[in-house]
């Protein structure tokens, strides 16, 4: 009957209860959508960089990353890559020959990282072929094709079929140059792909470097359920001497963002639920102050303080129990809808892309977030009830009974 009284008490002041329930619905919805939105932002950004640029794992000669000297290549890089591809949990692996240099058009020049790639395997590892915005993926130009990013093309003022010259130090340390023709222009929110890379065929580059069949980088993409450390450990135990790093080590700023996302849910939840607590405290305090005489009567006839306290607590939890599922449902539907159709931020695309973000966001939430939010709302309701319930049990029955 205590539950029944508490439930009925919730609806004694229908309008006021609906306002609090509405606040809970909006709070839960905002929490879910806000978290999903931020999640979409970060995960989209991170997966874009991991899947289109740095990959899950990179392997180098330990000396290579110090100053990108072409002579520090991975010994038997191609054979090692062949073997890695056969490992369980590996989706793809590719080799790259990398050299720093300059790209110049008849009008402008720019510093660039020249990446000699294995055409077929690169498309498996980084899906480079899927982000071709103009032109083709190394098709249609027989000699020295190059693919560059849209921003770089803009800077150099070059178009498809334009001729560019790549200049760099060869294996002997001499400056060498090669004429290349733009076969494709890629568009990506990754700043590196868009502005800093020039993709050429590996054989074209190695012949210009003149040190033979050199591999400076092995990039590995793995199944999502496989931990990078498993493949790295396997590599280290199979092959000696190379440096194998996960994306967390290659791009520590991404790892930091990943960790930040984990705590962001709690920060957002803390802010919204704290605001909600004030609403709940206010409502329940009014509910208690309105019923002083009734509460006095209950204590006078023999309802002990624990029961009075519990009754106020249940009333508040009921508000949460009604509001939270509606908020969860609305939040879930909103996330589902925008997860399919995306949130179009193209009005801000220029600004977003300059920071490496996509202009269409796909919010998403892991199912445990709904659980965490539900627990959060219940805790909020309980916390919000503590002060009003304490006020209720502090009433003196004699004084309360004579309250007008």
């Amino acid at each position: 009957m205590l539950l029944k009284i508490a439930w009925k008490n919730v609806w004694r002041s229908r309008g006021r209860s609906l306002v609090v329930i509405g606040a809970i619905v909006v709070g839960v919805w905002a929490l879910l959508f806000g978290t999903g939105f931020m999640n979409g932002f970060l995960v989209g950004y991170m997966s874009n960089i991991i899947n289109n640029d740095i990959s899950n794992i990179q392997i180098h000669n330990p000396e290579f990353k110090k100053d990108f000297d072409v002579k520090y290549s991975i010994e038997n890089g191609k054979e090692k890559t062949e073997e890695i591809r056969t490992w369980e949990g590996v989706k793809g692996a590719t080799t790259r020959t990398i050299v720093s240099g300059m790209i110049s058009s008849p009008k402008k020049a720019s510093g660039v990282q020249i990446r000699g790639i294995d055409k077929e395997n690169e498309s498996i590892v980084t899906s480079l072929d899927s982000i071709i915005h103009e032109g083709t993926y190394f098709e249609g130009v027989k000699r020295n094709p190059v693919i560059i990013g849209s921003k770089l093309a803009e800077n150099l003022k070059v178009k498809l079929k334009s001729k560019v010259v790549l200049t760099f130090n060869d294996g002997e340390g001499n400056i060498t140059a090669g004429a290349f023709r733009v076969v494709g222009i890629v568009k990506s929110s990754s700043l590196a792909i868009s502005e800093m890379y020039a993709f050429v065929l590996q054989d074209d580059l190695t012949s210009l470097i003149g040190l033979g069949d050199q591999v400076h980088e092995i990039a590995v993409i793995i199944d999502p359920q496989v931990e990078e450390s498993v493949i790295i450990d396997k590599y280290k135990s199979t092959f000696n001497g190379d440096t194998a790093e996960s994306w967390r080590e290659i791009a520590p700023e991404l790892a930091m963002m990943d960790e930040m996302y984990g705590s962001m849910l709690y920060v957002l939840m803390g802010i919204i639920l704290t605001a909600l607590i004030f609403g709940i405290v206010n409502t329940m305090l009014m509910a208690v102050l309105e019923r002083i005489r009734e509460l006095g009567m209950l204590m006078a006839i023999g309802m002990n303080k624990a029961r009075v306290y519990f009754m106020i607590l249940i009333e508040t939890i009921f508000l949460g129990i009604v509001g939270a599922p509606i908020g969860l449902l609305v939040g879930w539907l909103t996330i589902k809808y925008y997860n399919v159709y995306g949130v179009d931020l193209s009005n801000y695309s220029e600004g977003l892309e300059s920071f490496g973000y996509e202009s269409i966001l796909y919010p998403y939430l892991e199912s445990n977030v709904y659980f965490i939010v539900t627990i959060g709302v219940i805790i909020t309701a309980v916390l919000g009830a503590l002060y009003p319930a304490w006020k209720a049990i502090k009433l003196n029955p004699v004084e309360a009974l004579h309250k007008i």
Binding site: M1, N9, M297, A300, I301, G302, K305, L401
Partner: protein, 227 residues
Amino acid sequence: MSVIKAEKIKKIYQETAVPVHALNGVDITIEAGEFTAIVGPSGCGKTTLLNILGGLDHPTEGKVVIDNTNITDMKDSKLIDFRLQNIGFVFQAYNLIPVLTSKENVEFIMLLQKKDKAERDKRAMSLLEEMGIADKANQRPSELSGGQQQRVAVARALASKPKVILADEPTANLDSKSTENLLDMMAQLNKEESATFVFSTHDQRVIDKAKRIVTLEDGVIISDVSK
């Protein structure tokens, strides 16, 4: 056999700028089956005495024994349970739980006493029948007249099978017909079930029905007459 025995009860309210001496050494004994009215002018200490006799308030001095239990220094938490098991209250403003029906209001006190559902149902209905409002069992207080609400309140007070029922100005908000009906029913319960009633009142109709009249003035008993 005495149900309530109060000795040398003094109550001084210190909260005001000038301390108020509400009771100045009251001695009163209520025997089982009595139908007693405590009367006197406003401010004479009737309600204060009733509150102290019912364990709702502590005396500044003196001793209150109910059914051989000294409740004078009993802790509030224990007093609540003591009231639940031993005292029935009827208030001037009925003070029913507005969200419950008449029957649920009567049942509620038995629920607090942890009586089982079947017993609660049976006793609640039988009390409502005795009070002549069985047909209002499923109606909420807001759907009842003042007289009917007060009858539900009396049924609620009786539901816990208390040693004594303390009624503070129970007829103050009722018209004469409702007052007459209520008093007749309480007198009948007193006679047939030996229920002990103590009223605080200045309603002459209650005074006329009472078997014993205790008159208070300035916090002291100035007369105690049994009819």
